[in-house]
């Protein structure tokens, strides 16, 4: 598709112009194609591990699927959902999840806020805190849980050892064998693991507050508490919302920590909803039940995320 030039151009020159147009067109096609090319592999990999698993899970949840009888799996409609929801363990795990989530979200938010305020202050010792604050966040949750398990051990745990040496207790306390203490232990370990991230988030928020605001308030004679209450806290609101929602989701989905620290026990006192789903699949070998539970968990988190998006939008 060489373009005819009006003048009597030499054959050679004609060719170069044709080539020039040709190459320009391939560049144009390539330019249009490039963004799809650049996102294609990530999208494909992510799609493989998203679409298929979701369809698979939803499908299995409508079948009676026992891992002991993998060949025989009849369609049973919503029976899995009905059986799971009406069971005692479901109610128990929901209550446990609610208690755990509330305690962890409040604990992590307070921890994060206090640490961030300290890190943002001019106190010299806070520098040491700055260096180590990320450590619990950076390690595997399983390992974090194990460390706490040895610390809290009722026969030779170091926490019992310290309390005993200080004369605070006469007998060793079975932290993980008592239902209430096990819950508290789990919550303390979770705050230890999750708190640092919240602290960094709050710190980022604090650093966005212009220092003139503080100076003006101080000149007007505001006390530290009043400055915190009427300037810092309101301006941290958007960050606080993100932290609360993020920590709520993390708490509802917690699994690794329970797996190593309490194994859902003693009894079923730390059996949270994700642990219940795991136990249905790998202990009771009832894949249908476990997957139905997982679908329920997914729906709960989806609702939370929709609420979150609505709040974020109304904030803006």
């Amino acid at each position: 598709m060489a373009i005819q030039l009006p003048s009597v151009a030499s054959k050679e020159k004609n060719m170069t112009i044709a080539e020039f147009h040709q190459s320009k067109r391939t560049v144009k096609i390539w330019d249009r194609f490039y963004p799809y090319f650049s996102v294609s592999i990530p999208v494909l990999v992510i799609a493989l591990f998203t679409i298929y698993p979701v369809l698979y899970a939803v499908r299995i949840s409508f079948y009676r699927y026992l891992l002991t009888k993998p060949k025989d799996h009849p369609f049973i409609g919503f029976m899995n959902y009905k059986e799971v929801i009406t069971s005692y363990y479901f109610r128990n795990s929901l209550i446990n999840t609610a208690i755990y989530t509330m305690a962890v979200v409040i604990g992590v938010t307070l921890f994060g806020l206090i640490v961030a305020l300290l890190l943002n202050s001019k106190v010299k010792t806070a520098n040491a805190l700055k260096i180590i604050i990320l450590l619990p966040w950076a390690i595997p949750a399983v390992v974090g849980g194990l460390i706490w398990k040895w610390i809290l051990n009722s026969d030779f745990g170091i926490l019992n050892g310290i309390l005993y040496s200080l004369g605070l207790i006469k007998d060793y306390i079975p932290f993980l064998a008592n239902p209430n203490l096990a819950k508290i232990s789990l919550i303390m370990a979770a705050i230890w693991k999750e708190g640092p991230l919240a602290a960094i988030f709050f710190l980022a928020g604090l650093q966005l507050i212009p220092s003139e605001l503080y100076e003006a308030a101080r000149i007007d004679g505001g006390s530290s508490w009043k400055i915190f209450r009427f300037i810092t806290l309101p301006l941290l609101r958007p960050i606080m919302l993100i932290v609360v929602i993020y920590e709520t989701l993390t708490a509802i989905l917690v699994f690794d920590l329970i797996y190593v620290l309490t194994g859902g026990g003693p009894g079923d006192s730390t059996s949270l909803i994700s642990w219940f789903a795991y136990a249905e699949i790998f202990k009771n070998l009832n894949l249908g039940h476990g997957v139905a539970l997982a679908v329920i968990i997914a729906l709960i988190t989806l609702v939370l995320i929709l609420i979150y998006l609505r709040i974020i939008r109304s904030e803006e």
């Binding site: 330019d31 249009r32 963004p35 650049s38 996102v39 990530p42 999208v43 990999v45 799609a47 591990f49 998203t50 298929y52 698993p53 899970a57 640490v115 300290l118 106190v123 010792t125 040491a128 805190l129 260096i131 180590i132 990320l134 450590l135 619990p136 950076a138 595997p140 949750a141 399983v142 390992v143 194990l146 706490w148 040895w150 610390i151 030779f156 170091i158 050892g161 310290i162 005993y164 060793y172 230890w192 640092p196 991230l197 960094i200 988030f201 980022a204 928020g205 650093q207 966005l208 960050i239 989905l253 690794d256 789903a277 894949l287 997957v291 997982a294 968990i297 997914a298 989806l302 995320i305």
Partner: protein
């Protein structure tokens, strides 16, 4: 006088809070390290000695060379508390390391161009792809653990590095792409526009102009990808079967569930497993903090 005293008390209280927080954060790590240098009999005392009376490197020697610590030979009944499994920690950490490094490289090679396209180029279907990538991370892992196993099994990748790498890429790429595209949108685009007018392709603009400007973001994204892969447990437990591919967290969880394992050996495994993420968290502190801050304050 009164105000000064009040101030002194106030700063004393703040310092006390900081010290308590430091003990809470650091104590567990220190205790694991201390315990790994103690003999079993000292750890099982009532109460255990916080500062080791006879510190020993025997536990480490056993894990690396298989030489049984002397303290176990003396006490006959304790000898069984030696677990062969503890010796798997070194190859397991090697597996973790290889997998995490490959995932990191894949994230940079595939994630950066994708993030650039999302941040800078207009193309049809962009929002659908972008929202799909973000939404993919909202699935609870428990729901997809079994299907993931089925996928990896059908691809004949059970108990291989590639099975783990594939899953971890699917887990980390959404965050990398989201994070880097946020980062790129916060870089002024004048220079790229000028380069494009001069006939630069988007890819050339990314490599020559944007990449150097987004270096801190790339460092942070790499660290996140590495940590996510290095720390992952649930999927690794499902799709690995032997030390050929089992990762650090899998072996550590398995050893500590072994009633035969000695507590000092478990401490050794935990301490060894924690060294890479702790070094990363301390040396990369600035980038990690900046990256995390950016992820919550950028719009």
């Amino acid at each position: 006088m009164g105000i000064q005293l009040q101030r002194k008390l106030g700063s004393g209280f703040i310092n006390l809070v900081i010290i308590i927080l430091i003990i809470y954060i650091l104590g567990p790590f220190l205790w694991m390290a201390v315990a790994s240098f103690q003999g079993e009999n000292e750890l099982l005392k009532h109460p255990p000695s916080i500062i080791p009376k006879n510190p020993t490197t025997d536990n480490y020697r056993y894990v690396f060379t298989g030489q049984v610590p002397t303290s176990y030979e003396v006490k006959g009944q304790l000898r069984s508390r030696i677990s062969q499994e503890a010796r798997l920690i070194a190859p397991a950490l090697k597996n973790s390391f290889i997998v995490a490094i490959i995932v990191l490289v894949v994230n940079l090679l595939l994630g950066t161009p994708a993030a650039y396209s999302f941040a800078r180029i207009k193309f049809r279907g962009k929002n659908i792809f972008y929202n799909f990538i973000l939404a993919s991370r909202l699935m609870p892992v428990m729901a997809v653990a079994i299907p993931y196993y089925v996928i990896i099994k059908n691809l004949k990748l059970l108990d291989t590095y590639w099975g783990l790498i594939l899953i971890y890429c699917a887990l980390t790429l959404p965050f990398t792409i989201w994070f880097l595209s946020l980062y790129i949108s916060n870089i002024p685009r004048d220079m790229e526009d000028a380069a494009m007018v001069d006939g630069c392709t988007p890819f050339q603009a990314l490599i020559n102009i944007v990449a150097p400007l987004m270096a801190p973001g790339l460092v942070a994204a790499s660290a996140f990808a590495f940590m996510t892969s290095y720390n992952e447990f649930l999927f690794a437990r499902f799709i690995t079967q032997s030390i050929k591919s089992q990762t650090g967290p899998v072996i550590i969880a398995s050893i500590s569930g072994n009633p035969d394992a000695s507590y000092s050996l478990i401490s050794v495994c935990i301490t060894l497993g924690l060294i890479p993420p702790l070094i990363l968290a301390i040396t990369m502190r600035k980038w990690l903090t900046e990256g995390l801050s950016a992820s919550i304050t950028f719009r």
